[in-house]
């Protein structure tokens, strides 16, 4: 678990707003050192690492987690050193006022989202929806100084170093989907001493939050025989739809049934979890899963894919919460499922 926490801290802080993953790629390669026989960074911002099992004609299992994060890009540099931004991916403006961000310009600088002073607020303001357009980012520089550091299009991300909560829960930014990258690396550590029945290819794909383009292209390049797509899923919270009540924090990875995944591989995953006593939960999302699973499954001539998700709260905020035990159980499931593939599916 300590190892997972360490990796979670490192992966969480990667600067990789969707579409500008290249900024974080060097660091990704550093963090992946020692895990792979070979690796490459694709032209559309994905990291691909490969491990060969050394067997002639062996099949390839793809493990996917997206490395991009939601965030913003600068749309205007304003008087007084304020920046206007537009969102990249789904952002809730309600959590932004007075929050901290990092602006990845020529140098990385701190920014604070503005909040309207009480004396400027109108009486019925709380009755109206908040909009990102009404906020700006305070950088503490003058407009002229700022123009030397940032430009239109500069990416901006949340700033939220990982902290530990009770019960092995942790809070931080971009666990969607970096925590799954962590679960993959931890699984590879578990597999290190084992005899692999298949080759393993890992894709830390870019561009998931903005249309799955990293997974689409990396899967094409890898041409795997089957895939485990790893993403996060909303755990139940008060007032969430009732059908989420069985997605619990600490309940282990959630395995999805969907038309965007392979039923056969999904059932195999469930059986593997049961056989090995790995806590897990089931989720049904018949149509779009909102993950890379569809893009991977339909790659080339088709790739049987299973979607495994880590329960998470406060998705897309600067304080996403996950439990280390769920990450660990997800790693175990990846490990056991990979080992079980010697008979194919």
């Amino acid at each position: 678990m300590e190892r997972i926490f360490e990796l979670a801290c490192a992966f969480s802080e990667l600067p990789a707003v969707s579409g500008q993953e290249h900024i974080g790629m060097e660091r990704v390669a550093e963090l992946c050192k020692g895990y792979f026989d070979s690796y490459e960074v694709t032209s559309v911002g994905s990291f691909i690492g490969r491990i060969s099992c050394g067997k002639a004609g062996a099949k390839t299992l793809l493990l996917d987690a997206h490395i991009d994060e939601i965030g913003f890009i600068v749309s205007e540099i304003c008087e007084g050193g304020f920046l206007k931004v537009v969102n990249i991916g789904g952002i809730d403006p309600r959590i932004l006022p007075a929050s901290e961000v990092l602006i990845y310009g020529k140098k990385t600088i701190t920014g604070i989202f503005t909040s309207k002073p009480p004396h400027l607020q109108e009486k019925d303001e709380l009755e109206k929806p908040m909009k990102l357009e009404d906020l700006a980012i305070d950088t503490g520089y003058s407009k002229e100084q700022l123009e030397e550091i940032v430009s239109i299009g500069t990416p901006v991300g949340y700033r939220s170093p990982v902290v530990r909560l009770q019960n092995n829960a942790i809070a931080g930014k971009s666990f969607d989907d970096r925590i799954c990258a962590v679960s993959i690396l931890r699984a590879l550590e578990m597999l290190k001493e084992k005899e692999l029945p298949v080759n393993i290819a890992v894709q830390f794909s870019g561009g998931e939050e903005t249309g799955y383009k990293g997974a689409t292209t990396a899967s094409y390049q890898i041409a795997p025989d089957f895939a485990i797509c790893l993403d996060v899923t909303n755990a139940y919270v008060p007032d969430a739809p009732a059908y989420r009540k069985d997605i619990k924090m600490g309940g282990g990875p959630s395995i999805s049934f969907s038309a965007q995944t392979s039923r056969k591989l999904t059932i195999k995953a469930v059986e593997t979890a049961k056989k090995n006593g790995i806590p897990h939960q089931l989720f049904a999302e018949p149509n779009h899963t909102g993950t890379n699973s569809g893009a991977i499954q339909t790659s080339r001539g088709g790739v049987p894919t299973v979607l495994v998700s880590i329960p998470l709260k406060n998705m897309h905020t600067a304080n996403e919460v996950v439990m280390l035990s769920d990450v660990y159980d997800t790693s175990r499931l990846i490990c056991e499922l990979a080992l079980s593939l010697k008979e194919g599916i």
Partner: protein, 338 residues
């Protein structure tokens, strides 16, 4: 002053729970104060002998408390519901990190994922009474082992310099005032002066009322952090005050009409000494000056404030140079005498 401010901003001391900050201040002043005492309300009153004893009793005052949250109810799911301590805009609470109680338990003010929100919920601010803190517990019992009803919380300490000479932190309101008072006490003063570090300003200037009653000053100067409205899109006429324009002097705010002669004296002193200074141009807010003005037979009052953006949030923002100008101005006033 900046190092001291950082240290003070790190305290978890919302109104009514000022012990931590008071202890730090006592450590810093015990060698330099002529004498000091802590009164029944928890106010810390220090006296520093000057070269002369003036005709008028002067107190410089800053408040030790900060806005915060108090634990009200722990639900069966282990979530913590709370009330604000002092005035907090719900818009700066959602999704923020807090630290709770003496055990310093970290928590996150939950915010429902955008994917789970109904259309009519989108963008609508959640009222404080419907927000809850998640500390990672999944039931009431485990939560109650570390957090109890009545525990207090604040935003997480996050002091840092950024931009061109700015600082962001929780609680600059009014740890800046506290840090400044200690800096002033380190100077060789011309006149005997009282320095009051008061409690409970954020819930109604309650501490200052007792200090005013017990001390009966002739002149009280409140050192505060005041809202700067110089944010993008705000009209200049509604700025109240601006960063980088120096000490803020108020003619009038939401609770006090200041002593005209003192205001003019402060402005003239600033001019004589080439100290940057600005007038607050909006009638809003309030501070301990109102308590000094109205308690017992009253006192003549002045407020000298630091222009502060995003006050009462997780990230108050001030300019270092403004803080230095304020120190120069208040010191010049004290040395000149009244």
């Amino acid at each position: 002053m900046i190092e001291r401010l950082k240290k003070y901003c790190g305290c978890i001391s919302p109104s009514g729970c000022e012990d931590e900050i008071r202890e730090l201040i006592i450590q810093d002043i015990q060698q330099i104060a002529t004498r000091y005492e802590v009164d029944r309300m928890g106010n810390l009153i220090a006296f520093k002998k000057g070269r002369k004893t003036p005709d008028k009793k002067v107190v410089v005052s800053a408040h030790m408390d900060e806005v915060g949250l108090m634990v009200k109810y722990i639900s069966d799911e282990g979530y913590i519901y709370f009330d604000p301590i002092g005035g907090i805009d719900p818009r700066v609470v959602g999704g923020r990190r807090v630290v709770i109680g003496d055990k310093r338990i970290y928590g996150v003010v939950a915010s429902k994922a955008i994917h789970l929100q109904k259309k009519k919920e989108r963008g609508m601010v959640v009222p404080l009474e419907e927000m809850y803190i998640d500390i990672g517990c999944d039931d009431k019992k485990s939560c109650e082992e570390v957090v109890s009803v009545g525990d207090v919380a604040t935003f997480v300490p996050n002091f840092e310099e950024f931009g061109d000479g700015l600082i962001k932190s929780k609680a600059i309101d009014d740890r800046f005032g506290c840090a400044l008072l200690v800096e002033l006490m380190q100077e060789e003063l011309e006149y005997d002066t009282y320095f009051a570090f008061v409690t409970c300003e954020e819930v109604g200037t309650d501490g200052a009322k007792q200090v005013a009653f017990n001390l009966r000053p002739d002149i009280a100067i409140a050192i505060e952090a005041t809202t700067a409205g110089d944010v993008l899109g705000a009209p200049k006429s509604r700025y109240a005050c601006e960063l980088r324009k120096g000490a803020v002097i108020s003619h009038i705010d939401g609770s006090t009409i200041y002593d005209k002669k003192l205001v003019e004296y402060a402005l003239a002193t600033a001019q004589e000494n080439n100290i940057k200074c600005q007038l607050k141009n909006v009638i809003a807010g309030g501070n301990d000056a109102s308590a000094y003005q109205r308690t017992a037979a009253g006192a003549r009052v002045l407020a000298v404030s630091a222009p502060t953006r995003y006050i009462h949030s997780a990230s108050n923002v001030v300019c270092k140079d403004d803080l230095f100008e304020i120190k120069k101005l208040v010191l010049a006033l004290l040395q000149k005498g009244f």
